[in-house]
Symmetry: C2
């Protein structure tokens, strides 16, 4: 009996024969050492993993379950966004986006159409309006929204997030009237002695606290939208920087019903969420390597634009300010220590040079206690004192950076820092020179989850208008291979996933893109125009145009 059972438990694993061939492609990947590897075929096994990369002329097997003819098109690994916000992306797609409207009338039409198309939504929520673009010469008003949503409250955030536009139903729900006083730091705009409908800054809280929290089905719908948005731009895996329980449950529901396509490397929104979600330590990889909570996201400081980034010396354009830490040194160390003790990876948001130095200090200290393969991550690492650059490599700290931020921020960064403190600004080339593991992401929805825009930024250091000529701080430009590596192997490594996906090596999940152009030959400025023809994840085609 025992013998028989032992045989049973040993299983009946027979070598799975290769079941599919992706052939006749201009294949391109970046291996773990950073070398560009070319190939013309991929053999995929029945589990959706790469069995073998095939070069031109190399013999193809004939016993196949399927064969895909790439017709010479370019194939690259699925791109990995090391730092994004999946549910926020999804909700931004679920709500009404007015950012493309060119006039108030166009916006009104779009609001009415959205309200009609979403009869079950108790509130009409949106964002992205800009009265400057509309040439309106004034802020919009509640009266402009009259009759658009059948009496339901409407609440629309301005493009910059610093103002919101409400209709009468929303104002009534929030009990905002002529006598309502705005909270400190906020304003209630008035027209003829009555609230006009626009609330500014802190006054927005009067409304946002009323907006009904999304329900589980809204999370499910948002996740679906997020996956669509990511796949549309070739993102097959993402580091989710700040997962909360509601988001996690949506990921699991999708996984449980086989609807999780994009791979999510989840970092909990602080240790409390990590404990609720993952428990005593990281989860296993779930759903065929599509989901894992492996780490915790912490915040050391704020952002550069709002002068929340914590600097060593005052802001050039605000000589009395240096930004602020969002936690004390002791609290940073306590939280990192709690997370590390439970085996969670630690990813700390640090934008200013002081914040980066502070986190590097903490890593120096904790590394003595928490040894092994920790892969400490600093998120953004935007403004680093050049003296601190070599410190990243000391304990293998990963610089998780967003090339698109550089092209969006460069003029603002000059204003904030002046010309003499830019030696370690968005300094990806310097990171590589210092042998710092580099991972690229988008910070979506702050920037679009579009690695092709990021590749252009990384290679050219120019913005959407190709400015400045020759690139900003052009010594920090990197090659296509280096940038591609940070969006593939580097981003996988940053998520402890490099053995599972990211570089199309044998044994890895077959996640890849078919593109409409040869990206090696394309002008870098044209990379954002790249069309994704197909997306395959785990050997299954999930998108086809």
């Amino acid at each position: 009996m025992r013998l028989f059972l032992a045989v049973l438990l040993a299983g009946f694993a027979t070598p799975a024969p290769a079941s599919g061939l992706i052939d006749n492609v201009n294949g391109l990947t970046v291996d773990a050492t950073g070398d560009l590897v070319h190939f013309t075929g991929l053999l995929i096994d029945k589990d959706g993993r790469i069995e073998k990369r095939l070069k031109e002329g190399e013999k193809r097997p004939t016993l196949l379950d399927y064969r895909y003819d790439g017709k010479g098109r370019t194939l690259i690994p699925g791109l990995i966004d090391a730092h994004g916000h999946v549910m926020e992306l999804g909700f931004s797609r679920l709500n009404l986006d007015l950012s493309d409207t060119k006039s108030l009338d166009e916006a009104k039409a779009k609001i009415a159409a959205y309200a009609a198309a979403n009869p079950g939504r108790p509130w009409i929520l949106g964002f992205g309006w800009n009265q400057e673009v509309w040439g309106l010469g004034r802020f919009p008003t509640a009266a402009d929204l009259a009759g658009l949503a059948g009496g339901r409250p409407i609440w629309l955030e301005r493009v910059d997030g610093h103002a919101g536009w409400a209709n009468d139903a929303a104002l009534a729900a929030a009990k905002i009237n002529a006598t309502t006083r705005a909270p400190a730091g906020g304003r209630i705009l008035m027209t003829a002695g009555k609230p006009s409908g626009v609330l500014v800054d802190e006054a927005m809280g009067l409304m946002s606290k009323l907006v009904p929290p999304p329900q589980p089905k809204d999370y499910d719908a948002a996740l679906q939208k997020a996956q669509e948005a990511l796949l549309a731009r070739g993102v097959t895996a993402i580091g989710d920087m700040g997962t909360d329980l509601n988001g996690w449950q949506a990921y699991r529901r999708a996984g449980d019903r086989g609807a999780l396509r994009v791979r999510i490397m989840s970092y909990a929104r602080g240790m409390e969420q990590a404990q609720i979600i993952a428990g005593p330590g990281p989860t296993p990889w779930l759903y065929d390597d599509r989901l894992r909570m492996g780490g915790v996201k912490l915040y050391m400081d704020g952002a550069l634009g709002s002068r929340g980034a914590w600097l060593k010396a005052p802001y050039a354009d605000a000589p009395t300010e240096t930004g602020l830490p969002r936690m004390t040194s002791a609290s940073l160390r306590n939280q990192m220590s709690r997370a590390a003790m439970d085996g969670f990876q630690i990813a700390v948001h640090a934008i200013g040079d002081k914040a980066n130095a502070e986190v590097l200090d903490a890593i120096d200290e904790l590394s003595a206690t928490y040894q092994g393969d920790r892969r400490w991550r600093i998120e953004h690492a935007q403004i680093v004192d050049p003296l601190d650059l070599p410190r990243f490599a000391l304990h293998g700290t990963i610089a998780s950076m967003q090339p698109q931020h550089e092209s969006s921020d460069w003029q603002m960064a000059i204003a904030r820092l002046g010309p003499t403190r830019l030696g370690g600004a968005y300094a990806w080339k310097a990171m590589l020179a210092n042998k710092v593991p580099l991972a690229f992401g988008s910070d979506v929805p702050v920037e679009p989850a579009d690695p092709f825009i990021g590749l252009k930024s990384a290679i050219t250091r120019t913005d959407a208008k190709d400015q400045p000529p020759g690139g900003w701080l052009p010594e920090q430009r990197i090659s296509l291979a280096e940038a591609l590596r940070a969006y593939t192997w580097g981003a996988a490594y940053a998520g402890f996933a490099e053995q599972r996906f990211g570089n199309l090596a044998p044994g890895q999940r077959a996640d890849f893109l078919i593109l409409d152009r040869e990206i090696e030959l394309a002008r870098p400025a044209d990379l954002p125009a790249t069309q994704i023809v197909e997306v395959w994840i785990g050997g299954q085609r999930v998108l086809s145009k």
Copy 2:
């Protein structure tokens, strides 16, 4: 290309050859119609499902991966506890159990040993002491606990849950001193003008609110203990009546790492937990039919012992009391409606005859709106007005009952109700006569999760001391086949699981027990002595003695 892919997606399902044979057993199961079925062999396929039941003399296949010789022993389906509390069972096993101590000295020795064996536990928590059993002639005191736990606080609940015994460290932690006033409904026992260490009823809250909440690793350990306790008595599946998020996460962690053995049919602790855990509707069956949240548990009333059960007429032993509903009629209907709208099954605790009638009324009303296969459940259904008995069958309402409660409660029930209102008391035979689907459980940890005790109760209506002779209300006795059906097919049906496990029919998961005796021939009074020799779940042996 499309053709090739279609072939791929169609899969390569070949008929899985039977891989194992359980042979030479005295096999016994109860089929969906209630018939006892005998067999001598089970063919089990590679997925751990029953391929075929084999009768004596029927040809056995020879091409097998394993063969198990039952040596003529009795094999029955894994038993299903339709109503228990998995995490509460686990925590009761994790904490110190003093219920078997015969003296204060024995208890002190056990406390000291437990404290020494659990150095990482910040509090020493336990239960089950009874100074009457010890013959102590007084309550124990804090002084009795001096030096037993190295300065750690100790907090031990009395066997009835109505008093707790603290040491000095615990009293100090709770800031309980000579001037502390007990809350209403509670007492702080005093000795020589100082708190003695014992807190009664509501005063227990002064301490219990301080006890550190269990951490995820504690939940994991408790779940492990719960599974051990269930398997030890042949329970292979359980209805978990009131799952909260922490418990659910422990179930998922166990499932994710392949450590979930017992099948858990989970009912959320109210709709809020259902939404957080399951989201917009029931989860799928997870982990090869080992976990599903399919329903919601609600409470209509309290318990009979504490006169919380809601009666149509006053208590016989408290003529001014009729018990209390725990929610209004409107709230019951609202909550049932919310749950039913989202497709959750509804299980309502109802003990008193008025509570049962109220829930039946609500089911009558809701059934018009929420049609289809709803399987409304009434949990306990202990005291039912005989006039209401036929109403269960009207909308297929399941009576989820606990035979062990009858044998524990019968004397108390007579006291509470008097002799004339017992026509529908623990009336499982009457339920069957009225064609009410019957499911049996234990309410563990209120009673031990031991279906063999329950089988005896169901068949004999006698208690552990075989009292009263001939059984209490003997007309409610049922046959072994009927009782076994309520612990197998009936309990599976109550959890929408009867197509998956419960009666060893072809296609079902191979969950079964090997017993030390022929239960059909055993004296019913001897059934609790049945030894579980082996437990198999999904065709894998998970326990062997």
